[in-house]
């Protein structure tokens, strides 16, 4: 079993503390959810763990071994950014080769007929699905998914949740999204990032206590 541990993560931006002494642990077989308001530092936290952003002080360890180079160099951890990152002139077949994707990705029903299409010619949803599958089916031991459900149709979100759960059997997954109900259903552990700190969330009322959701509007939503 692989274990990813990141601790002492601090980040200050223009005098404002974004992340303060964060500790996060993820083992293979686990899906960890992060939620937080816009600008709370979820993406920064993921990028610091990934190694593409440097915090003021951080320690990222995989199986107890300290990464003295950014994790992105070692390909132990991969990262799905919020915005499209794949090159428009590539096809899914080329991605499978270059990222050494698990051949199981060929069996994904929603990707049928898209293998030879250039990514630039696909719709946002199709392209996003390919990006998520690329990250999930790549051989990295840990995958960080930044807002994988945003702007996607409910059916596609359900498909992605199934693939996250399937791939979590062989790797550790940390994901963040604003669709907190989907995140809560998908994840084994669930944290709220607020005021630079991670708070463990067990129930919806914890989210109300931390004022992430408004109890009144939530009640209205449930009635509807």
């Amino acid at each position: 079993m692989n274990v990813l541990e990141s601790d002492s993560i601090n980040l200050t931006f223009r005098g404002r503390t974004i992340l303060s002494d964060i500790y996060l642990r993820c083992s293979s077989g686990e899906v960890i959810g992060l939620i937080g308001r816009n600008g709370s530092g979820k993406s920064c936290l993921m990028q610091i763990i990934f190694g593409s952003l440097k915090g003021e002080n951080q320690s990222v360890r995989v199986n107890g071994r300290l990464h003295n180079q950014p994790a992105c160099k070692s390909m132990v951890i991969n990262y799905l950014p919020q915005n499209p990152f794949l090159l428009d002139y590539l096809t899914l077949n080329e991605l499978i080769k270059i990222f050494d994707l698990d051949p199981e990705v060929l069996a994904v029903e929603e990707l049928n007929g898209l293998h030879k299409e250039k990514l630039g010619q696909l719709s946002y949803g199709q392209k996003r699905l390919i990006e998520i599958m690329t990250i999930l089916y790549a051989p990295a031991q840990f995958s960080l998914l930044d807002e994988p459900f945003s702007y996607l149709a409910p059916k596609l979100v359900q498909t992605i949740v199934l693939h996250i759960q399937k791939q979590s059997r062989r790797k550790g997954i940390i994901l963040s999204d604003h669709q907190y109900k989907t995140v809560m259903k998908t994840c084994d552990r669930f944290y709220l990032l607020t005021n630079g700190a991670l708070r463990s969330i067990k129930t919806l009322s914890d989210l109300e206590n931390y004022r992430y959701i408004n109890p009144k509007s939530e009640a209205t939503e449930d009635r509807e």
Binding site: S52, P70, C72, S74, M75, P84, L87, K97, I98, F99
Partner: protein, 100 residues
């Protein structure tokens, strides 16, 4: 090895193509003024590369994650791009110099 070559080709396509405008302009200078233009060509190429890098970081920064996920850091990406550009430029300039 084959994977590295493919990644290098992508880097070329991502950054160097924009920079080729400056390379062609520099080649025209060499063709017209021979060795006298070398100082100007050097600075033109420096400005060209910095401009291409700036443009990439401004408008296509997110695509760096594609390379990060393949194990290529930001420093490695731009160093490799500079190296490829230098090799292409030297070959082109020498050819132009011989022809002029």
């Amino acid at each position: 090895m084959q994977k590295r070559l493919i990644i290098t080709r992508y880097i070329f396509r991502e950054l160097i193509l924009t920079n080729q405008l400056f390379t062609v302009l520099s080649a025209a200078l060499i063709y017209s003024y021979n060795e006298k233009s070398f100082v100007y060509v050097f600075w033109l190429k420096v400005v060209g590369f910095l401009f291409s890098t700036w443009m990439y970081l401004q408008y296509r920064k997110n695509r760096l994650f594609f390379f990060h996920n393949l194990g290529v850091s930001k420093t490695m990406f731009f160093t490799l791009a500079l190296l490829i550009d230098t090799i292409i430029s030297i070959i082109l300039f020498l050819t132009v110099l011989l022809l002029s």
